[in-house]
């Protein structure tokens, strides 16, 4: 039975029409993913409109192609410009950008693209096996768990991106949380910090904030000091690339697993998947000190983690009709528009669809790999362009990218405002990434905590009685405790007292 479905899907793929469709849509996805401001969510939404009238098979093929392309395409701008093309690739920039600055941009893109492809492929295996079984895992996440997951995400991001001082990372994360509170609150519909301004009531959109935070400081930095243009680009040594990939097989498997699990949980998506995998890789790595300074393992972990979310995010669509991430939500809408009914009835009504989606994902990830590497031959040359010439163009992208999200000029002002915030942060050596994640996860932390407290009549006991909560609570407390321990150790050394109980 399964074989028959698989053959049917392969049959669909074999037509010339399908080949052209998937190549074009993956290419479109990569380009959109590369451009800051155009996200995977938007790419899928845009294409949903365009493919409305085509046959449903071709439409879904192209949407999956765009989704896979866009999530992986973001790595290129993160590596080359330190501006993540999509929020999902913010973690990639941590090690990818330093690699690019060393002239190893080509290698970094090779690793990122290969890791993306492997992450997607790995997630397909989970998709095939988990979809029929799952549903209970996602349902175990209630308001309490979501709140702690959000806090956990911001904290690990703060720790990872801080370059040595987690406190600065956490401060940036909390500032991001505060920025996300502007607008109509998600629970009671009360406008906060909006001063009766309709644009502020709608809150700050994520994309202008991201572009401002990451793009602006880069643009200003390019004019502040004369940076040396990298003269020698090391050509991609594929053998070395493959060797590094093989060395990190463990990282790839771990990141894929983490990515899939994050993908399954509704409300958290590719961005968190990338960060969590990066965190796990750093915790496990022997070369921990090299992270953030151009460690290939970091790039591999982040990219296989964020791409594995794709398969993960599709699992609850097919089993529960609940999208696991934002682009997956648009994908689900597209399924509906094409007469498919994702949800609890999918496996009984159209069991073949699971295999169709899986086949399309596999095809898309192979094509993404080939196209990504092909494109990188051209894009990597950006590193050789003098920043003073390049940055005005990038600036144009920043403005246009902020505007096209909602067609609102207000978003361009938001981009400028957060551009100055980004400048300030980078000047004071606060990392921008936790700020961004704070903005992303802020609403989740805020509404879930208040909802949870409503449910328990104000008692915080459930944090310690629910198993998943307890797990997160313990890790969070340990992270804080480790931080305080470090402080006391430093202080005791300085004051030259006996270092006694502080290890």
């Amino acid at each position: 039975m399964e074989l028959q479905y698989l053959l049917h899907a392969l049959n669909l793929l074999a037509s010339p029409e399908a080949v052209v469709t998937i190549v074009l849509s993956v290419f479109f996805g990569i380009v959109v993913g590369m451009l800051p401001g155009l996200t995977a969510t938007m790419a899928v939404a845009l294409l949903t409109g365009l493919t409305y009238k085509t046959s449903s098979d071709m439409a879904i093929l192209s949407l999956i192609g765009v989704y896979v392309g866009a999530i992986s395409g973001g790595c290129q701008s993160a590596i080359l410009l330190n501006i993540p093309g999509t929020p999902a690739s913010a973690a990639t920039a941590q090690d990818g950008y330093p690699m690019g600055q060393e002239g190893r941009g080509g290698l970094a893109i090779f690793l990122a693209t290969s890791a993306s492809a492997l992450g997607t492929l790995g997630s397909v295996i989970f998709l095939l096996f988990l979809t029929p079984l799952l549903t209970s895992f996602a349902l175990k996440f209630g308001s309490w768990e979501f709140f702690l997951l959000a806090v956990f995400g911001i904290m690990i991001c703060g720790q990872l991106a801080s370059g040595g001082d987690p406190l600065k990372g956490w401060i940036a994360g909390i500032l991001g949380l505060l920025a996300s509170l502007v607008g109509i609150d998600g629970l009671q519909g009360v406008p906060r910090f909006s001063f009766d301004n309709i644009d502020l009531m709608a809150g700050f959109s994520l994309i202008p904030i991201m572009i401002g935070l990451f793009g602006f400081p880069e643009i200003v930095a390019a004019f502040k000091k004369k940076t040396a243009v990298i003269g020698e680009l090391q050509s991609i040594n594929y053998r070395e690339g493959i060797r590094i990939m093989l060395q990190n097989w463990e990282t790839i498997i771990r990141s894929t697993f983490i990515g899939v699990m994050v993908g399954i949980i509704p409300g958290v998506g590719e961005d968190v998947g990338g960060w969590l995998s990066y965190w796990a890789a750093r915790m496990r790595s022997k070369a921990r000190a090299m992270f953030g300074k151009g460690n290939p393992e970091g790039v591999i972990a982040a990219e296989s983690g964020n791409n594995a979310c794709i398969g993960g995010a599709i699992i609850p669509i097919l089993s529960l009709a609940v999208p696991g991430s934002a682009p997956a939500a648009v994908l689900m809408a597209a399924f509906w528009l094409h007469g498919l009914r994702p949800g609890p009835l999918m496996m009984t009504e159209t069991p073949g669809f699971l295999y169709t989606v899986a086949t399309y994902l596999v095809a898309a990830s192979f094509i993404m790999w080939a196209l990504g590497l092909l494109i990188s031959r051209f894009t990597v040359k950006i590193l050789q362009v003098s920043p003073q010439l390049l940055m005005p163009v990038v600036f144009l992208f920043c403005v246009v990218g902020s505007y096209v999200i909602n067609d609102r000029i207000f978003d361009v002002w938001v981009m400028f405002a957060f551009g100055f915030v980004g400048l300030f942060l980078s000047h004071m050596k606060f990392p921008s990434a936790p700020f961004l994640l704070g903005v992303i996860l802020g609403p989740m932390a805020d509404t879930n905590l208040r909802r949870a407290l409503t449910l328990s009549d104000g008692s915080i006991l459930p944090f310690f009685t629910r198993p998943i909560c307890l797990f997160f609570a313990v890790i969070i407390l340990l992270m804080i405790a480790a931080q305080m321990g470090l402080f006391s150790r430093l202080r005791s050394k300085e004051m030259n007292q006996e270092a006694g109980g502080t290890k």
């Binding site: 996602a138 309709i198 949800g343 909602n406």
Partner: protein, 348 residues
Amino acid sequence: MNKNLRLVLSLLIILSMAVALAGCGVKQQAAEKKEEVKWPTKDITVVVPWNPGGGTDLTVRALTTEMSKTLGVNIAVVNTPGANGSVGTKSVWNAKHDGYTILGAGLMPFTSYQVMGYMDQGHKDWITWTATFSPNVLAVRAESPYKDAKSLLAAFKAKPGAVTAGTAGVGSGGHMGIEIIRRAGKFEYKHVPYQGGNPAIIATLGGEVDFTPQLSMEMTDMFRAGKLRALASLSDKPLEIDGVKPIPSLGDELSDLKKTLPMGEFFGLTMPKDAPPEAIKKIDEAFKKAMQSETMKKFAKDKGVVLVGYGPEESMKKLDNLASVVCWTLFDTGTAKISPEKFKIAKP
């Protein structure tokens, strides 16, 4: 090296132009000079002030695809979510009132913008076509102890303020539905708002809340799969959904409720009422024809909604009714700060 540089730069410029085009294409067309007699002479934009995939989005996309066949031009659906749908609504009002920019609306939040202070205009300043109606349905998870509406109503009375209701947020269709039941049944419950209908339904499935009063169209497949149990509907007669046994009207249990039924969310199109008459006429024709189409019939059957197809007059009556319920409920619960009296909205 020089050649490479030029290649990269020209590539960038081409891409930037592509981005600019993608973003502005729709807008530019809408900004062109309006034509006189013949309507429409160019593509129409429908702004959906909610995310793709929601009830409004799905309804409007199905409807406009049919309407574009009659009108002979493309209808582009644009999602502009934010501030409970008021950002997109405002953008339609601020666009030219030439019929080329239409709002795809869920009518319940649409009536609340005045009392919430989001907009100066109320539903009376718009001309509206109502396509579909999706009643509230009281639903519990399959393992729930509540087997029918009677046992749930009894639980409200027995444990005041302890039975939890998961809704899509304050002022959402689900919240309005349960507030109306609360008034008629004179009981207390605990309101647990989520960010959207789907999270509320998942919370019901997962057992975080006792029941959900969300809209039928959001739960149809969960009913079919037997994961959720429908106890009662806020329709005036039993609600029929393909593959689910008819859901009784709550009016049978709670007779005080009967006068406010049917209650639920209405989806349709609306635009500033001072749009040119020829545009109104053409849209009216296309709307009526689309409502007769097989596509819409199939959509209604699949999604568990009722095709109503109200023209502007009937829609206005419905809106007056909705506005009084919605605005007064928001005002009485303290959510809305401006009294509906200011806008001459009658008490329900």
